[in-house]
């Protein structure tokens, strides 16, 4: 990881780069006491690449704005997943990249059983309390990006929304899919998630709402030059204090997420940066 500045100006270009292999790696098996948490006993296992500190992995950044979890997770084998468990307050987003996610959620008066495939995504605001279960019931491996955000208010009424990102019809432009915008899923905080599915050689500009908003760019596939930084598959960069981010796709079938957050709640992250100069 590298950082462009060691002081803490609120405004002024700041950024960090997190390479794919620098993320925290966790492997959880559905064995022993963990089998109540992880489904698929005895052979089910899950791998998680964490961009920020989460559970066992505590070797990186605590988060980015109100984002606390960015997990690139693979559910190995049919039956693998998370058993029914409770959440409060966190806004949990899931983006299915490969395979099929069977998602059971207690939100609403009757709850729901939902199946999501490539391009499908959901926003689950746990608010005052909700339970969910996430399973891979197919033979194919299931790869999902999970993002957790702190909400703008605690103990909101729980909500669940799902959407679909159409790779064919929403191509070669940065499309907002979460946060206030036409057709985007609602989210109870100052957060926007956009996605770019593009061919090589395209130039794209991402404009955050203000320089006080940070943008976490994560390359799902392909390659993206972000300013002067070349990001490969599963590399990422956090950028803030800028009016816009100039991007160029350097590979066909490039697929990237742009997660925009307000940086004003960033005290924990700033404390971490003070303690880890140069990262």
């Amino acid at each position: 990881m590298s950082d462009t500045a060691s002081s803490q100006p609120q405004i002024g270009p700041r950024s960090f780069v997190l390479r794919a292999e620098e993320r925290g790696h966790t492997l959880v098996r559905s064995q022993g006491p963990q089998s109540s948490y992880l489904a698929g006993h005895p052979e089910g296992f899950l791998t998680r690449e964490s961009s920020f500190n989460f559970h066992e992995y505590q070797g990186g950044r605590p988060g980015f704005g109100p984002m606390r979890v960015f997990g690139d997770e693979t559910f190995h084998g049919a039956g693998c997943g998370y058993n029914m468990h409770r959440h409060h307050n966190f806004i949990i987003c899931a983006f299915v990249l490969q395979g099929e996610l069977t998602h059971i959620n207690t939100a609403g008066s009757r709850g729901m059983v939902d199946q999501l495939r490539q391009g499908d995504f959901y926003v689950f605001s746990a608010g005052s309390g909700g339970k969910h279960c996430e399973l891979n019931v197919g033979q194919e491996e299931l790869n999902v990006i999970y993002i957790w955000f702190l909400p703008s208010q605690l103990y909101l009424p729980p909500s669940f929304h799902r959407g679909f990102f159409d790779f064919r019809n929403r191509r070669n432009r940065i499309e907002q899919i979460v946060g206030e915008a036409d057709g985007a899923l609602p989210i109870p905080n100052d957060i926007r998630v956009s996605r770019l599915a593009a061919d090589a050689g395209g130039k794209h500009v991402y404009k955050p709402s203000s320089p006080l908003h940070g943008t976490y760019v994560f390359v799902i596939d392909g390659g993206l030059r972000c300013g002067d930084t070349l990001l490969g598959r599963r590399d990422s960069s956090g950028v803030w204090g800028v009016d816009e981010i100039q991007c160029e796709t350097v590979a066909d079938a490039t697929d990237a997420l742009f997660v925009e957050v307000a940086m004003k709640d960033d005290e924990v992250v700033k404390n971490w940066e003070r303690a880890h100069p140069g990262r």
Partner: protein, 79 residues
Amino acid sequence: MALDAFERTSLPLKRLICLGCGFSYDEALGLPAHGLAPGTRWEDLPDDWVCPDCGTPKSGFEMVVIGYAAGGADLAQHA
């Protein structure tokens, strides 16, 4: 370090959130169902206290400055 009586009453009351699941602990509210009276300081919870929902240790909680939605404080106290 233990707080003296003056520090106890003058420090603002904290609100913390479990980074494992989102459960919250609010010093002003306590968690009466878990034997923690309103006003119980985070520092006074035992070191081996864990999140009642997911088992995350105290070190996995983060202090937050986020207000409650309407009726939220009551829900937090009885979560």
